[in-house]
């Protein structure tokens, strides 16, 4: 799904720089990291976040990890042959003075093999390792199973 309006809204909100959850370096900031409550046990999870590069060089995401899942990786939902499917994103680049918003139907962190269920309202750490600035840990806030945005946003 392409959600241009939602992307615009999220981008506008991110630009306000009023995010309560902030993690980063001088050049790279991670904000508004959120997840969805999981259903059942041992399933998959998802994390959406915003990465901003305020530096002067291209930065790349090398890996992602969280203690609550056996494996985490960047995925992107794409539409191909009339179907939506998830593709791995091995080498996400963030250009200088730009930001990338992960959102439903697009870029997301895929958590595979959850070690414990994700409860709505809970928080857990996520470490994003960058090529130049190294690891940055951020706190992820979990919304409902069907959350569509960071928990303080209007659910649309």
């Amino acid at each position: 799904m392409s959600k241009s309006l939602k992307r615009w809204l999220l981008t506008a909100l991110a630009a306000l720089a009023l995010q309560p959850a902030f993690a980063g370096s001088a050049e790279i900031q991670i904000t508004r990291a959120w997840s969805r409550a999981s259903v059942g046990s041992g399933g998959n999870g998802v994390v959406y976040l915003t990465i901003e590069n305020t530096g002067t060089q291209i930065e790349r995401v090398v890996s992602v990890a969280t203690p609550i899942a056996k494996h985490a990786s960047l995925h992107k939902t794409v539409e191909e042959d009339g179907m939506v499917r998830m593709l791995p994103v091995p080498n996400l680049e963030i250009a200088p003075t730009s930001w990338i918003v992960f959102e439903p139907g697009g870029l997301h962190v895929m958590l595979m093999g959850l070690r414990a269920p994700i409860e709505a309202g809970s928080r857990f750490p996520l470490t994003v390792r960058f090529e130049k600035v190294g690891p940055i840990e951020t706190e992820v806030v979990a919304g409902s199973v069907g959350a569509l945005a960071y928990p303080d946003d209007i659910e649309e």
Partner: protein, 216 residues
């Protein structure tokens, strides 16, 4: 319109109308329209006699679904990104329908018959609209349903732990009270736009009942 055998889910007969409506409702966004995965198939190849198991473990036939409007989405419960989004947009859209909400049954048809048991569906759907009907079944039953709706899906290769993802279409299918296709909707513009489209499509079928809807 006869509710008899073969009429329910006979989406092909309404496919041309559905495409017209779906595109017409998206006026001015030609780029998106061009990417819409709608390809009508030959009516003669349509499956009939669809049967499922619902989220309570009971057998359901297509005839049991005649009598109310259906808003149908295909997916699987282990789908982390697209499916929760789709089900929440459906839920939010129905809640915006006012008096029409009671007349539209949200339906989730699982494309993952191996893992989506009735119990799994029941737990999953409890987080969405309370009137959700979850449908699962054998691989053959699910394939027949997907064929009837002209829904493409492909199971991906298993990973090291045996898990797999499923590529699938992510549109919403609005079906009439006699099983006839009304429209294919994409929901890309959010639940408010989806609710407006549903209301427009249904209100004239219901003698203007939907016009009582509030401004929400």
């Amino acid at each position: 319109m006869s509710p008899g055998r073969g009429a329910a889910f006979a989406l092909a007969c309404g496919m041309a109308i559905a495409i017209t409506l779906a595109i017409g409702a998206r006026g001015g966004k030609s780029g998106d329209v061009a990417s819409m995965p709608i390809e009508p198939a030959a009516p003669a190849t349509r499956a009939t006699g669809l049967v499922f198991t619902n989220h309570h473990g009971e057998a359901v036939s297509e005839h049991d679904l005649v009598g109310e409007f259906l808003l149908v989405f295909f997916g699987y419960t282990r789908c982390p990104d697209v499916c929760p989004t789709g089900l929440q947009v459906m839920t939010n859209a129905l809640r915006r329908l006012g008096p029409l909400e009671e007349q539209v049954r949200p339906v989730f048809i699982s494309l993952d018959s191996a893992r989506d048991t009735p119990a799994v569906l029941r737990e999953y759907l409890s987080h969405f609209h309370p009137r959700f009907l979850g449908l699962t079944g054998s691989e053959a039953q699910i394939s027949a349903a997907a064929q009837a709706y002209d829904v493409l899906f492909v199971r991906g290769a298993p990973d090291t732990s045996g898990g797999y993802a499923i590529s699938h279409e992510d549109d919403f299918y609005l079906v009439g009270a006699h099983g006839e296709a009304i429209a294919i909707l994409d929901g890309d513009d959010g639940s408010g736009a989806l609710a407006s489209e549903i209301e427009d499509l249904l209100s004239h079928r219901l003698g203007g009942l939907g016009q009582n809807r509030g401004d929400s």
